[in-house]
Structure formats: C-alpha cells, structure tokens
Amino acid sequence: MNNRNSCKDPMEVLGRSKGYSQKELIKNLPRHYKYNSNLLNQIKNTPEVILRNLGSPIAKKVDKMLKEIFAEAYRAKQFTRTEINNKSVLFGVVLLKHKVMDLVLDYFHKRWPQCIICLYNEHTQLTGIINEKGITQEIKQSLKEVVKKISRKRQISPYFEDIQFSNDEIFETLYQSQNIKERKNTRYFNSMIPKHCFKLPGMRKGVEKRFTSKNKKIEEYFK
C-alpha cells in the first residue's frame, strides 16, 4: 500500500470498526510472546492510517497479536478456578503464554482487596502474587510453597474461616440443576466454550466437559 495515498484518504480511518490505535499497540504489544523490539520500531514509524487499516499486512499482524493477548487474559478471568484459605490467600493455576499475568491478578485483586492473590502460571512456571496494596511480583516457586510461606505469616480471618467447607460438588450440583434438556444446543455451547478452553487448568476437569461429552453411557441408549 502506498503510504502517501493512505494518509490522504481519511476515509480509511474514520469510523472504522476494527483495528487498534498506535498508542494501544505500543502499550500492549510487548505482552505478546512473539514480540520483538523491531516490531515496535516498525509500529512507531508506521502512520496510524495504515495501522488502523486491516488491509495492510502489518496492521493485520499486530491486530491479530493484540486480539490473542486480550483473549487470553479474558479466558483466564473467566475460567480460572480459585480456592481461598482461612488466612485470606486466594490461589489458582493459570496457563498464560503472553505477559498478561498483571491483568489477571488485578482482576482478582479488585474482587478480593483484602486477600493476597497467588496464581501459578504453568507456561512460565512462575507464581504471580499481588498483595493488598496492589503490588505485583512473580517468583520462581511452586504454588504450594508460595501459599504455605505467605499463609504462615498471616492470621486466621474469621470471615474466610466461615466459608471453609467442602467445595467439590457445590458447583457441579448447581451446574447440573440448571440444565434444560429440551434446549440442548451443542453448536452454541461449543461457540461459547471453544475446545481449546478445555485445555486451561480450571477447565480440564470441569463439569462442563463431562456434561457435554460425546461419550454416552450404555443406559442412555435404552431410554
């Protein structure tokens, strides 16, 4: 694409439904695992018109990269299953290829401001921690060790002591109770939870997978 022509034609930019601004790209692109500084320089030197126009190869590339980043952060917020102990430490396991640990930690911090949140990233094998003040750090230790160390220094909180009870079956029971057989729609379900989401740590053993599994018990054929 000719740069000059694109700059002259604001139609390409105005009112566009797609694409990210240069500022957004510079801020968020370093989160991508395939990011390199050359790419960032290239973006800095490229006019916004081209970056916004998904017809150009560079825009197509960076747009895809940014979408991958945000999709991963969103899926982690959706499908990470957490536990909380009586010393107000909330912990769970995530699988993050991109550098979005801070976004996910911040999401949990806003929900549980009194807790220390520990998330173990299976991809980097680092544990991300955010404390009550919102300060984050990543350390190379297993989740168990980190939770144990942090919990040792903290006092038992009556609030969190109150919600310490077996949790294995509560969600499964709730999930099964909400199912309306007559409305089963596997295609819609698959679009809502794509297959790759079942690879996430919170969903591997998730009731959703078992409930929509194609494997039928022999009794079901005789009904």
Binding site: G15, F79, P113, F165, I170, L174
Partner: protein
C-alpha cells in the same frame, strides 16, 4: 434434614426456567461505588459482564440462581414447583454462605434470588431480604444482585429490596389480564404486577430527584444541567438510553419475563404490545421470553411445547423496539394473519415491505432513521456513516461500507451507491421475459 447440596439440586432445577442476563450491571469504575470505596467490600462488577460457565444449551450460567423456597401458595399451571413433591427452603445464612463459597471459586458473578410464595409474599421476601442483607453487610459483598419481586409485595419491602439490589424484576408471565388468569388464576394482573412495576418507576424517579437536590447543594452546576436535561428527556420519551449516572440504586433497572405459548390464544402481537407499553410507561429496561415447556406433574403437562424459534423471533423484535427504536406499527405490518411473527428475521421482513414503497438507501445521502431500517446496518454502523456524511466523505464502492461495520451481504439488496443497486434474481427473470416477449412481438 436435607443437605445444602440437595437444596441446590432441587431448588436450582425449580428455577432453571427463570431467565436473566448473566451480569447486567451498568456499574463501572467511572460511577460511584454502591457502598463507598472502603477496602472491606468484596466483589466487583464488570460492565460488560463475565461468564464463568455455560450450560449445554449455550446459555451463560454466571449467577447463583436457585429458588429460595419452592413452597408456594399459588398454583400456576406452567410452573415447575407444581410438579415438585419435595418442598425445601434455604435459610438466609445457608444461602449467603453458599454463594460466597461459589464466588470465591470464581464460578459465579452474582446472585439471582427468586422464590415461590410461602405463606405470603411479604413473609417470603423478608427471608430473601435477610439473605441479601447478610450478603451485603456480613459478607460485605458489593457485586451484582438481581432480586425477584414476588406478586403482591408491600411497598416498604420493595423499597428495601431496591436499596440493596442492582436489578429488580416483576414477572408479567402473560400479556393481558385474561391470558394471565388462564395460566395463573390466583394472580391479579393489575394489582400484583402492573402496580409493582409502577412503584419501581416511581421510587427511582423520586430517588433521582433527591440526587438532583444533593447535587444542587454541592453546586455542581454543569452536571446539574446535564442531569435535568436527561430527566426531562426521560419523562418525555420514557426509558431509552437514560443512565442513572449518579444514582446508587437499581442501576440495572427493572425487567420482566413472559411465558411464551402457555396461554392458548396469546399471539406475538399481544406480547409486543405489552412490552412496548412497559418500555414507555414503567421504564422497563428489558423483557425476557421463555418458550413454554410442558412439565410433568403440572396441569399443562400434555400441552404442546412452544417452538424455540418463536422465542427467538420475539427477542429479535424486542431488539428492534428497544435498541433500534422502531415503532410498534412498523412491526404490525409484518405479522401473519394470526398475529404472530413470520418465520425468518423480522428486520428483513420489515425491510422487504418497507422498500417496496420507498426508494433504496444511498448511504451518502440518507438519514439515520432510514439507515437502521436496512438489514446488516445497526445503530453503531449507522452512526459511523452519518459521521462520515457530516465530514463530506463519500462512499464510492460498496466494499467501503465493510470498514464501518456493515454486513454487506445482508445490506446489499437494499443499497444504492452511485445510482447502482444489486440486481435481484427476480428482476433478472422479469427483464429476460420482457426481452423474450419483445423479441417475439
């Protein structure tokens, strides 16, 4: 004594036909927090909502949705509780504690609290409110709560429910008094439903005026003018896109639900008339439709289920009324002789009728109202096109419309750019026939 799990299993199954949006909170960081900015508050709401799970039919399942009790003095013919022999109730403490456990597991986003009417609406609501109070003030939960107003609830309890919840819903179930008495003869349509919906509106307006007074005291002149303008607009037009920016109560508004196909002769037109009235008269935020499913043990067990397709068409039409601001008479034109919506997208049906009499739309010259009548063009893309018009940019190729978010394959038959429009197969045949005719002549 039944366990909590048993209660979730049965009361959850009893409430599964109640429909609600996952997290419809309009609260966000921009607006004041419900109970202040203290760190003791737990929970948050994302304005777009986050779904933590989906049921096998693809519906988002992000709220802790169970009945509070399935003991009910009413005998509605369609209702699940009719067929359920085991009668159970949560205790407020048990309900709040179970929810907090689920919230800590990151599997739910908020609460949808509904119930059968045990003894009286006020008695049951007292218990439900106790559970909500525990959530708010013992567990310091400031996340999303959707509260169901039971038929015949007293005003003072409704006020308290409003002050603690993000959204309140009053189930209409049917479109008119006659249809309601056919499926739920003990309910009084005017008194139990419409009056409660009117109260909700009145309480919100009164509260808004109080907020305005407070703002006057604070001498926030510019914002005050803005709010006053909004309120005048709101009173003139009914609820449209008005948002309670400074109101910490009921910020997700009120909703309602209809059981589609339970009453014998209820048509789509009856339902559309009713929701249109509710949008204008009682500030309804949105309506939900639940296609009737016959349930064993209920008086309507042998009745035929309503097709899901019908529910879908009603949602599409509701969208046209609520978001696109179509007029009710526009939709009347596309109804079948029986008064139901035809098979297929109502917007496409409407466009076919409309563009028979009107010329095709030229995006370079047309108005916003014309643009949103074209299938494939929504309010956002229409606004973008108008924005471009104001800046004197012209669309010269159809493909350019894609860049503003138009779904071209749907919009193409109704568009005209540079005087050219898509030739339809029908026209092609007609011209060929004419040619053949002329040749033979």
């Amino acid at each position: 004594m039944p366990s909590t799990l048993e209660k979730i299993r049965i009361l959850g199954a009893n409430s599964k036909y109640d429909i609600c949006a996952s997290t419809a909170s309009s609260r966000s960081n921009k607006y004041p927090k419900l109970f202040g900015a203290s760190k003791k508050w737990i929970g948050a709401t994302a304005s777009a909502g986050i779904c933590h799970s989906y049921t096998p039919d693809g519906r988002c399942m992000s709220l802790f949705k169970t009945l509070f009790t399935n003991k009910c003095i009413y005998s509605c013919k369609y209702c699940f509780t009719q067929g359920c022999k085991q009668k159970l109730s949560f205790t407020p403490e048990e309900y709040a504690r179970t929810f907090m456990k689920l919230y800590s597991m990151n599997v739910v986003e908020g609460v949808f609290i509904t119930s059968g009417v045990c003894r009286s609406a006020d008695d049951t609501t007292e218990d439900m409110l106790e559970a909500v109070r525990l959530l708010r003030f013992k567990y310091n939960f400031q996340g999303y709560i959707h509260f169901k107003c039971l038929p015949g609830l007293s005003q003072h309890l409704l006020k308290e429910a409003i002050s603690l919840s993000d959204r309140i819903s009053v189930n209409s179930e049917a479109s008119t008094t006659d249809f309601l008495s056919e499926i739920a003869e003990q309910k009084d349509y005017k008194n139990d439903i419409i009056t409660r919906q009117r109260w909700l509106k009145a309480i919100r307006i009164k509260h808004n005026e109080e907020v305005l007074k407070k703002m006057k005291d604070q001498k926030r002149d510019n914002e005050l003018e803005y709010q006053e303008k909004k309120i005048i607009e709101h009173r003139k037009n009914g609820y449209k896109k008005f948002r309670w920016d400074d109101a910490p109560i009921l910020n997700s508004g009120q909703t309602t639900q209809f059981v589609v196909g339970a009453a014998e002769e209820e048509t789509d037109w009856d339902l559309l008339k009713r929701i249109d009235w509710q949008y204008k008269a009682v500030d309804m935020r949105r309506a939900y439709f639940s296609a009737f499913i016959p349930l064993e043990g209920t008086p309507l067990a042998k009745k035929k289920a309503a097709p899901l397709e019908r529910e879908h068409r009603l949602y599409q039409s509701d969208w046209l009324l609520r978001i696109y601001h179509y007029k009710l008479k526009d939709l009347k034109d596309i109804l079948t002789d029986e008064g139901n919506l035809p098979f297929g997208d109502p917007k496409v049906h409407f466009a076919r009728e409309y563009f028979k009499e009107h010329s095709l739309v030229d995006p370079n010259e047309t108005t916003y109202q014309e643009l949103i009548r074209v299938p494939g063009i929504g309010p956002i893309s229409a606004k973008r096109i108008i924005n471009l018009q104001n800046q004197n940019y012209k669309f010269t190729r159809r493909e350019q419309l894609k860049s503003v978010g138009v779904v071209l394959k749907r919009a193409d038959p109704f568009l005209k750019i540079n005087g050219k429009n898509q030739t339809t197969l029908q026209k092609f045949f007609i011209t060929n026939e004419n040619n053949i005719f002329q040749e033979s002549v």
